[in-house]
Subunit: 428 residues, 2 copies
């Protein structure tokens, strides 16, 4: 008896799946208890030249036919996007196949439908590769920490934006220039929208929050801001206060509700996430009993993502051989998603101000009017160059935004140079 695998997609990740299945065949057979065999590979262009240990007879353009074939046990999906992936996977589940997928967009948009289809057909749905590439994150969250209460997940989960922000920090370049370099070097895609607008990170945040808090979270529940508005002056402001700008995914639970958000933020250079540069990912998970855990590694790329897929494939295959299922969806907690305005956070604000008596008093009054406490204030320059740099204590995001609006209306304030949330100063 062998486990027969249908592979949907044979691009950067899929071809590495093929390679690993071939090169590690003996190890995989020993670990699963039966050989893993490719039953078919669905591709758009079957005649494209591929330098892979792959029998061309396995290639097909008929993905829909492949996923329901009687001789297929497990479907591995690496085509991405919502359709046709969703229809293919639902049809695979209906035919009793288990699924391993790297499709974060689909899981974050409509994970509940997929989980239900898996459950109703006694099949597995595994998706370690959908978040942070090779870093084992989802299995620790849903299994290792199943006896604990996760309170917070905080991480860098998008390599493209991390590369761009690292470049801006290192060279002083503006966003457009840094993105151009990332594109030239292959760190950003031709259409970088999903990355730079934070859609990719938001999908991952939704998946992480759902697992961490045992509740349903879709990408629509995630407050999302990309990095296109991050200016070289934001980065310089961060540097001046010993911080660096990162695009963070933050999932928080407390008081019977959760918040999930993705936005650029300043974090202290001494924070472990500050040292995560280039295409690497790192995620902190805080458990009530476990304390603070950190996971670090390559967040993308063919081989790392394929490693995560193969790990899932081994587990799913073992489950099939023993006629069981692994952990399915756990959404019993059914928690309220709190709107961004209720989020407790801190702001860094830098203002160009008139160099005259009473300016600080007027600015301080604007903060006080919204019940926002100022932690530090620093005056810089003189005359036309006079500026104030303020960092607040924790307050609600709504109060902070309202404060910034008030500041823009003050006569003494000539301009708001930089406004950004500050994270990671509380505990580390």
């Amino acid at each position: 008896m062998s486990i027969r695998v249908a592979l949907l997609g044979c691009g950067v990740v899929g071809s590495q799946v093929v390679r690993l299945l071939h090169e590690h065949a003996d190890d995989l057979a020993s670990r699963v208890g039966a050989p893993l065999e490719l039953a078919g590979v669905a591709v758009r262009r079957p005649h494209r030249r591929r330098d892979l240990p792959l029998d061309p007879a396995l290639l097909t353009t008929d993905a829909a036919g492949l996923v329901i074939r009687d001789d297929v046990d497990v479907v591995v999906e690496v085509i991405g996007g919502i359709e046709p992936a969703r229809s293919l996977l639902l049809s695979a589940f209906k035919a009793g196949k288990s699924v391993v997928t790297a499709n974060k967009a689909l899981l974050a948009a409509d994970g509940a439908t997929l989980h239900a289809a898996a459950r109703d057909n006694g099949a597995d749905l595994y998706f370690e590769a959908s978040v942070a590439g090779a870093i084992p994150l989802l299995r620790p969250l849903r299994e290792s920490l199943a006896g604990d209460r996760v309170t917070r997940v905080l991480g860098i989960v998008n390599g493209t934006t991390n590369y761009v922000l690292s470049k801006m920090d290192e060279t002083g370049a503006g966003f457009a220039e840094a993105l151009d370099e990332a594109t030239a070097l292959g760190y950003a895609e031709a259409d970088p929208t999903a990355d730079i607008e934070g859609f990719d990170a938001a999908a991952k945040a939704a998946i992480l929050a759902a697992l961490a808090f045992h509740t349903r979270v879709t990408v629509a529940d995630v407050h999302r801001e990309g990095i296109t508005e991050v200016s070289s002056s934001d980065v310089a402001s961060a540097r001046a206060m010993g911080c660096v700008v990162k695009l963070l995914a933050i999932c928080e639970a407390g008081g019977g509700s959760i918040g999930v958000r993705v936005h650029p933020a300043m974090i202290p250079r001494t924070h472990a996430l500050a040292a995560v540069s280039g295409a690497f990912n790192a995620v902190f998970i805080e458990g009530e009993a476990a304390g603070e855990l950190m996971f670090y590694g390559q967040g993308a790329g063919g081989a790392p993502t394929a490693s995560a897929i193969l790990g899932d494939l081994v587990a799913v295959s073992r489950n099939r051989l023993s006629g069981t299922r692994g952990f399915g969806e756990s959404s019993y907690a059914d928690l309220r998603i709190r709107p961004m305005g209720e989020t407790q956070t801190r702001y860094h604000v830098s203002l160009q101000v008139a160099d005259q008596p009473g300016v600080l008093a007027a600015v301080a009054q604007a903060f006080a009017a919204h019940d926002v406490s100022i932690q530090t204030v620093r005056q810089e320059g003189h005359g036309d160059d006079a500026s104030l740099v303020l960092v607040t204590h924790t307050a609600t995001d709504a109060a902070l935004s309202a404060t910034v609006e008030s500041l823009r209306d003050l006569r003494a304030v000539r301009g708001v140079t930089s406004v950004m949330r500050v994270e990671g100063m509380g505990t580390r």
Copy 2:
């Protein structure tokens, strides 16, 4: 139907297990699919005062009777040590119970017997808590990376020695003084032998290597050196070359054999492990496809260890409800354990030398005679204070030790001040 848990031991870790079972009862029931109930708690002193949500009627001194009781499904063992733990667990398996244990010493001494007993009785043996406390390490190794080929595990897995070495580095204190402070602050036990002689780290290294390489490894296979010989002059030498001294656990595979070792080593201050201070643990895992992964968190303590135990308890309980077993022992690879002499490593050597012409030539000749290349050499001081500091390229440990022996015999060498392996300079 509920899952009935017998707890062996109610000390620092056991009492946290009791607390979490009580406080998280609803969450645990939702995650398992059935309530978890304490069936009994075996302790030595049942009348000792305990400030725990625990019915005193559950306390018993008859551990042997408890583990075979018909109303027990899972045994959680946190008493530690070889006996009576081994006999109790074997008897539990024979009675068909699954086991969750934090007992690194027992697993590293005789894991094979336990795994066989679990398998023969269709039961589970889970032991995430035995290595690095709350950090999910064993599950990622045996499940997430099951489709990859792990080539190296490198980590700090003992908090006591890490605290002592951090102190020595920060204050310039000698070993004895730093240990005294660790003892006074509760970071070292009254009898610190298991920690400072590296036995604890060696047991963990054996467990990690067995999982990483799918082969049997016992603590007897681990080359072990503790930190009692680390002097303040070693620490100062490390500092002078931009390094810090850490007790490392290193598991390496290649060429059909593996090496497992625990010893103090210098690592560059820029290495991520250098920043791991105090009681924290951190482990790097290198997978052929995954690349480099790092896991970081609290390596010991009641609550963190209990978090890992509860995670295992959820998995084992789910397996029982679905009538299946999780991943058991995977030792198909049956690899040769290579002796320490074959290990490829690097040395830092500092020598007090006569301040006269020809000394460097004589020293260099001693290295060359054993085919060891020198990477850097630095001369310091003059006259009676003249010294040479050398760092080698990679060579076998046998060649390096032989070189050091030759150096001790040289007339121009007055004394060998510090000899220590150097790690982490190759790739990072």
